[in-house]
């Protein structure tokens, strides 16, 4: 085989040469027996490749079935993974809420105690005032009278103030 033909003969049998290259090869093999033989051998090799390929037995219908089965298994797994993820997320969420409550519980407990104490104190004061008021009926009367007097005084002073404004 001739050196300069080396790279051209293989694409030649594949019909992958441009017009100029193809003419070059065709002209050459007309006169060169060696390269002609090379082309024959390459073509024979190609034919052997093709007949080997055609001779390989193709798997039967169980092949398609196996493919579809595999696809369905994967789809199922994906769904399981999804629901698994859903439950995992839910569990994690619950854990977070519970732990937050647990860490805040001393604070919450203190708040509740303060409120309870305040409420208790208020209730006792009210209770004491009630007892005192019930025990001293005169005080109540005195208080009511004082209040009335104060209301009257303030009412008079307000009208006086308004009066001076309109005349002045």
């Amino acid at each position: 085989m001739h050196e300069y033909m080396g790279e051209l003969l293989s694409p030649y049998i594949d019909d992958e040469l441009n017009g100029e290259e193809r003419r070059l090869v065709e002209d050459h093999i007309k006169t060169c027996k060696q390269c002609q033989e090379e082309v024959e051998e390459l073509r024979f090799l190609k034919a052997q490749m093709q007949s080997f390929y055609q001779g390989i037995d193709i798997p039967d219908i169980s092949f398609e079935e196996a493919v579809i089965r595999k696809i369905q298994t994967i789809e199922q797994e994906q769904q399981e993974v999804f629901s698994w993820k859903f439950w995992a997320a839910l569990a994690v969420g619950m854990c977070v809420i519970i732990s937050v409550l647990l860490t805040l519980s001393p604070f919450l407990y203190a708040c509740i105690r303060v409120l309870y104490t305040l409420f208790n104190v208020g209730a006792r004061i009210a209770h004491a005032v009630m007892i005192i008021a019930l025990d001293m009926p005169y005080l109540t009367g005195a208080l009511i009278i004082t209040t009335l007097i104060l209301i009257i005084i303030s009412g008079w002073s307000v009208s006086r103030l308004l009066g001076t404004k309109t005349t002045g």
């Binding site: 293989s10 493919v67 595999k70 369905q72």
Partner: protein
């Protein structure tokens, strides 16, 4: 691409498994034979071919152009064959380091056998490098043009040409070995 095939691909894209099963039936021959020529083992080739279709099913919605389906499928098969061969090589290497001494002892004899036996096309094909074998299978068995092969393997056109050229030269050498002495 004919209308029927286009519709099958579109239906399969939307998750229609009957349509996809039709596609598998249509292309399992090409895919399986390609894998078998690459790995030379029926069981492994069947695994690869099935995995290729399973992958294709789940990635199909991402395939933009329906007409590119077959070469896209071929790219998937090529990648899976590559992974399989890599695994095999790793296994072989572990095996060899474990059995280094006996392997070296038996080597000269098997070399002798080699020079005396003419190889069949399949045996010779397995002697090629993975790159050369892939290129030659895509050309001579699958019938892709050089530019299609360049696209599938993502390599320059010139590299496709030279890989096929070298592959054929070594294949010829392997298959005619010992002829001169016979």
């Amino acid at each position: 691409m004919d209308q029927e095939l286009f519709q099958l691909i579109q239906q399969a894209k939307r998750g229609n498994q009957d349509a996809f099963s039709e596609l598998v039936k249509k292309y399992k021959g090409q895919v399986f034979r390609h894998a078998y020529a690459m790995v030379n083992d029926r069981m492994e080739a069947e695994d690869i071919a099935q995995e290729a279709f399973v992958k294709a099913y789940f990635y199909l919605p991402k395939l933009g152009k329906e007409y590119a389906f077959v070469s896209w499928l071929t790219r998937i098969v090529t990648n899976l064959c590559h992974d399989s061969l890599k695994r095999q090589n790793k296994k072989k290497m572990i095996f060899q380091t474990e059995n280094e001494a006996p392997h070296q002892l038996s080597n000269p004899k098997s070399d002798m056998e080699h020079t005396q036996l003419k190889l069949t096309i399949n045996e010779a094909l397995q002697k090629l490098s993975e790159e050369q074998r892939t290129a030659l299978i895509l050309r001579d068995m699958r019938g892709y043009s050089y530019s299609e092969i360049a696209d599938i393997l993502n390599i320059p056109l010139g590299t496709v040409k030279s890989r096929i050229n070298i592959a054929r030269a070594s294949l010829k050498r392997e298959m005619t070995r010992g002829d001169e002495h016979a």
